[in-house]
Subunit: 287 residues, 2 copies
Amino acid sequence: MDSKPSTSRLLLLLTLSITFIPAAVFAASGEESSSWRSLLRQVVRNRWTSGGGDHQDAVEKAMMKEITLKNYCESWRLNVELHNVRGFGAVPAECTSFVAKYMSSSQYKSDVQRATDEAALFLTSSFSLAGDGRDIWVFDVDDTLLSTLPFYKSHQFGGSAANRTLLEEWMAKEKAPAVEGMLDLYHDIRRRGLTIFLLSSRPEHLRDATDGNLIKAGFHGWARLILRCDEDGSGRSVQKYMSEERKKMVNEGYRLWGMAGAQWSSLLGHPKAKRTFKVPNPMYYIE
Amino acid sequence: MDSKPSTSRLLLLLTLSITFIPAAVFAASGEESSSWRSLLRQVVRNRWTSGGGDHQDAVEKAMMKEITLKNYCESWRLNVELHNVRGFGAVPAECTSFVAKYMSSSQYKSDVQRATDEAALFLTSSFSLAGDGRDIWVFDVDDTLLSTLPFYKSHQFGGSAANRTLLEEWMAKEKAPAVEGMLDLYHDIRRRGLTIFLLSSRPEHLRDATDGNLIKAGFHGWARLILRCDEDGSGRSVQKYMSEERKKMVNEGYRLWGMAGAQWSSLLGHPKAKRTFKVPNPMYYIE
């Protein structure tokens, strides 16, 4: 083992210390305290062998930079959600591990849960349906009902245009899990008698795979799955495509009660639903 | 001193431990280590005197609840920014200390900074002004240029309708500081030759105080400050009021390049600017 502790090793130890301290506090009088004690001892030993002085300064600087980087990545993520940051081709390289961590965290689950709770609240507070089947709810598919996290995780969140082929190959495998919390909302909406339309920018050739994946993940009972024509090379933005599809629905006499999507482009434009719900998603941006 | 450590005291100690551990890690070989050591010793002593067992379980449960509460409040804040949570009269009581902490944190500063950085990027990337003074940028005032944080902090974030009078009394004192980071953006925009309009839902009788406060906080050189008529009891929402004011600007021949505001109601509706920037603000909601 190298006698000079690398910055990353120290950071890891520090993270571990912080993670274990709560347990340590409550276990301090018993046998279980040995783990955090040895952990701290190890950190201290590493400090001793590293010599202090300049090296200490360097490590402290690296620590500060790490904290600043966390602030930076948090701010980046928030500003994506605020729709202040737009048009990014991929997650900034320095934030990919941050985003990966967030997407696997209890915080992300809690964030989605809060969005679905608000949708449920809206459903109970202001619904009087005509009962003619023309009251609809529109869901986007990717990262709204089905999670693409496994794909992005194994592709370093480098989800730019170049990876579209790989992404579609992955989608064809029908292995996307449900976005946790959305299953309940989906079936809640369905049981309330709303007609469900799925409006996705997935291409038409993925229809069977999309049907199959949705069923496997626990979704069923939608009235329409609208996908993009494989020939739709018109350069229409997704926002334009989705607005135009919603326009068709309204022209057919449907009433748009709600929409949920993980991209602003799935929600902006006209016609609008009475309420829109933006599912958090810092992984990619679609115009 | 009570021999049974209260949950809140333990949490405080834990927070302090976590806060000091980074320093402790680097100071462990020297004199400065005494502080975290005595801190840990104190925590351990408190544990010993408390007896463990059931009490330990209760404290652990309280800890878990606290962590869940943090997740909950983070999710609440994010969903306010996503415009999923709407129409709240006040910050939920259980989240007021969380919001107070966030608004005073380096994270909030960093979040605002990121929004201004994106606005600056937009300014450099896509601007070709006609030079006729009709290219405009619209800023909201409260929590966009001037911070109401000092007011909300001293009123437990209970900013519902009942506190409107107190808020206006506080505004009349002209003590609101600038929102950090917005001064630079404001002057950057001004120097680029854009005409600046300030559009606020503050009432007309606060005109002098608003002028005075803005100048004190470092803003100057705006072309218009639009406030709401004191008689405007029409029940118009702020979104409607602001849209209508923007409509007047467009009818006068102004071109709306950008808008910045801390409420979605300042940014939604028509006409729109080419780009909008939502400044983070979990303190209150204006329809």
